[in-house]
Symmetry: C3
Subunit: 154 residues, 3 copies
Amino acid sequence: MNDDISARLSERGLELPDATAPNFAYEATTQWGSLLFVSGQIPRRDGVIDFTGSMDDGRDMDEGIRAAELCALNVLAHVENAVGLERVDRLLKVNGYVASAPDFFRQPVVIDGASKLFQAVLGERGKHARTALGVGMLPANSLVEVEAVFALLA
Amino acid sequence: MNDDISARLSERGLELPDATAPNFAYEATTQWGSLLFVSGQIPRRDGVIDFTGSMDDGRDMDEGIRAAELCALNVLAHVENAVGLERVDRLLKVNGYVASAPDFFRQPVVIDGASKLFQAVLGERGKHARTALGVGMLPANSLVEVEAVFALLA
Amino acid sequence: MNDDISARLSERGLELPDATAPNFAYEATTQWGSLLFVSGQIPRRDGVIDFTGSMDDGRDMDEGIRAAELCALNVLAHVENAVGLERVDRLLKVNGYVASAPDFFRQPVVIDGASKLFQAVLGERGKHARTALGVGMLPANSLVEVEAVFALLA
């Protein structure tokens, strides 16, 4: 990790979680030329999923936002582990999924937790296209899941 | 926009909505070389979401189809705004999401509203791979959401 | 299909389904340079959807797994039909969707049916990044849907 990125993380009191290998039959990332695909990340740290259940109108929005941040940190941890964050040329696309009750429609506010974190850490290179969706449930009862596609410096 | 594309739009009585910047912390599009990613678009025109709620067996299919068309027009508006529609070499991939009651399974008919519009406007260059999904709810209670990946002419 | 891939399929008693053209207004695949996008595939063989409904805690996990395998076989059938499986350099990304009751959270176990099949048939080239999601319902009441992005040999 270069000094700029390290500094931005520690300024915000952020720490990358361990980039743990998936428990299932897939890879955390695949690289093809300058494209890096990162598998869907759930809000896990030290083997524990910190945010479960689903968002509804009664639940504190901040829980969803912090869940999305932790998903984004896991994405960044896998990029760091695979190629090094200093290799990122541009974050091209983020898809964010929020486990939601039928009456919850503020998925964009939740996924902004991930989007703002990417930009805080990567600066201009963290600006990205995005799709935010609500779903009824997520793997392992996770509250949020985030996947991403990056372009790498040659 | 070149004359061909303008003509096809006006022949069908279609008009691109304004390509409004996202209200949240992401970009409408990202470009990397010849690839253009377009963020998920909801059925909005002039700041108003025209189609909300979810599809069920009792709801007129035509509402879903027109919602999908409006999402597709927003996708095209952002392509026009970012690079110009005449730069499109090929629409590579469309993902379409339909807010659906548990007993509604005709998402492909709804998303065909977007697929047919892309081909009406872009001709052969509008032929694309696609995934259609049903979800319980969408951001801002939108009825449909559509995202796309384009290849651009060099 | 080259002999290696044929042998791996028949060793496991697998047979590719027919690569049938979509019933709706899209293409089964799009190719752009060395990238191949494959549309979302449902668990269909000979025109019949073999696995419908949704997963819940009471349903045999094996049904979900076999549904995911059949989706993956349909993905491979379309790659074979479009460019030939021997052209695959790397399976870059798989997204797998499982129609799920609200209390079902083992989508990764289900989608492993697809992931393991890709690797059984393609070997190291079948290793991929992945996102697994639960959704309330899928087109045509399908139990599982799988889409993929491949890199091709030049």
